[in-house]
Amino acid sequence: MRDIHSIVDEHTIHLLQLAYFYTKSHHVAEDLVQDVFIKFCDSDYEERGQLGAYLRRLTVNRCKDYLKSWSYRKIQLQNTFISPMIRKRDFIVEQEERSRIGEVVLSLPVHYREIIILYYFEEMTTVQIAELIKEPESTVRTRLRRAREKLKPLLQEEWEVLMHE
């Protein structure tokens, strides 16, 4: 197997992006991606040219576990009383970094956001997505359609550009 250092070097940015789209937190994304690599090191993975897909699967599963976790729910509770000024500051920083389209996609509920991310960012087919998230392909197609329906009125003119690419 390749040197772990070169694997981490090659895949980290992509996995961080993927984890961020799920969790919407850079800090959490870092923790989760780190966990993924540690799990990968402990696994008996055999290289068959599918390393990227394997790491993606580990990352998606880890993110979904996190979103269901007690830690995440506790953070949600803390967010109900966190200082408005702190949130305002974080919000400004986040807004400066985000694109409008990205912001709208990130505002989608996770079951729609996930499909958009896997379809457009990971460039997976609906069949591949269905296999990854263990849902029927028809469900994936329905979610993709509904996610697009949700995005269309929010993106207005940008939507036309995206759909004609």
Partner: protein, 395 residues
């Protein structure tokens, strides 16, 4: 690469520093795997410990703590304690809940580590806790306790039985961690203990997690966002667009707003008997759910309860304050009579009815970000559209 993919990559931001941290973290964890790994415990011993802890947590979470403090009383004492320091009732309730959940985690983790606490150790914590209480704070606390039907003696018992127990457990855990991780700051170790305690409860007590989640959802759901007052901006067959705070008539059927899950604008599904028109001012009773899979950092009205009520009160105040600093409001101007200059990144504060909204411009000066301090949510409005709406509202 598709436009959408490019936009998503932009949304994730620059991750160069994150990458460095991940690489360093992976390297560190590979070189020192045992440092952060849970200590190995044989399977039979684990089963026995879990059984004992299960009984313990069952007592603590279901009815009473091991020392006889009832859960609701613990929450009420914490709330009184937090309110004493000028937090409002709602915030105090949430902070009390957070504190209680952390206590359950620490006590469970402490039990797993076979920690036992003596009365002398608890008394030491009590002396520290009560010994630093200034008289003026004490008198406020007494008042808060009385409002909730308790006396100072009841509170002292709470401090001994609960805070003392948690504090002494934490102290012993810290000593264990200091022995294990030499050379680390106390604060770092306390954070590590808190993280490990959360992880322990999560991994070993799914049934209690479910129970605490239910308690948390019920408490928060019944306390947060009990209502929003606002105006109907658009009406569709099965839903209407509602925003809290904006008042007056607005006749444009199409919404100029960016309707984000994180903003104070919401498409609300209609219910039977909810006949609304554009421009109606209504009070919307909402409840929230912690079971939602909504994104982190937002708090959305995912479930609606109660009724939709018409509101008849008029605008009592409407003005804008502008400042370059959060804490120093330099001037107050009337939107209706004075043009606001959008420069040097000022922050605009709006007072509508008795609610306050803070707004600031995006760097391109095309959008106004609005912060609703009542619901603690955000909206993004095009400056030109916002001006149109304001003109329509001001007589």
């Amino acid at each position: 690469m598709s436009n959408m993919k490019q936009e998503l990559i932009k949304a994730a931001g620059d991750l160069t520093e994150s990458k460095k941290r991940v690489m360093a973290g992976v390297e560190s964890r590979r070189q020192n795997p045992r440092k952060k790994m849970p200590k190995f415990i044989p399977a039979i011993a684990t089963a026995v410990v879990i059984l004992i802890i299960g009984v313990f947590v069952g007592q603590l979470v279901n009815k009473e703590s091991a020392q006889g403090m009832e859960r609701d009383d613990i929450l009420t004492f914490y709330q009184a304690q937090i309110e004493t320091f000028e937090f409002d009732s709602l915030e105090a309730k949430n902070r009390a809940m957070d504190q209680y959940l952390s206590d359950v985690e620490i006590l469970t983790y402490g039990a797993a580590k076979e920690i036992s606490v003596t009365d002398a150790e608890k008394q030491e914590i009590v002396d520290t806790h009560l010994g630093v209480l200034p008289e003026e704070i004490r008198s406020v606390l007494v008042k808060k306790l009385e409002e909730k039907g308790f006396t100072m003696q009841d509170y002292e018992r709470f401090v001994f039985e609960h805070i003392g127990l948690v504090g002494a457990t934490k102290k012993q855990l810290l000593a264990m961690y200091q022995e294990k991780y030499t050379g680390f700051d106390e604060m770092v170790l306390n954070n590590l203990i808190a993280k490990d305690a959360t992880k322990y409860l999560e991994e070993n007590h799914p049934e209690k997690i479910a129970e605490l989640s239910e308690l948390m959802g019920y408490r928060i759901g019944s306390s947060i966002g009990s209502f929003y007052k606002g105006v109907v901006l658009a009406v569709e067959d099965h839903a209407f667009l509602f925003t809290s705070g904006y008042v007056g008539k607005y006749s444009n059927q199409s919404t100029p707003f960016h309707n984000s899950d994180s903003g104070p604008l919401h498409w609300i599904p209609k219910r039977e008997g909810w006949d609304v028109e554009v421009g109606d001012r209504v009070k919307l009773n909402i409840s929230t759910s912690f079971q939602s899979d909504e994104p982190q950092g937002t708090y959305n009205p995912v479930a609606i309860s109660g009724s939709l009520e018409p509101i008849t009160d008029e605008i009592v105040q409407f003005n804008i304050a502008s400042s370059n600093h959060f804490d120093q409001w330099q001037k107050t101007i009337d939107w209706a009579t004075q043009e606001v200059e959008f420069n040097s990144e000022p922050i605009y504060r709006f007072h509508i009815d008795n609610q306050t909204y803070d707004g600031w411009l995006t760097p391109d000066k095309q959008w106004l970000e609005l912060y609703d301090s009542a619901s603690r949510q955000y909206a993004k409005v095009r400056v030109e559209k916002f001006a149109m709406l304001m003109e329509a509202m001001i007589p």
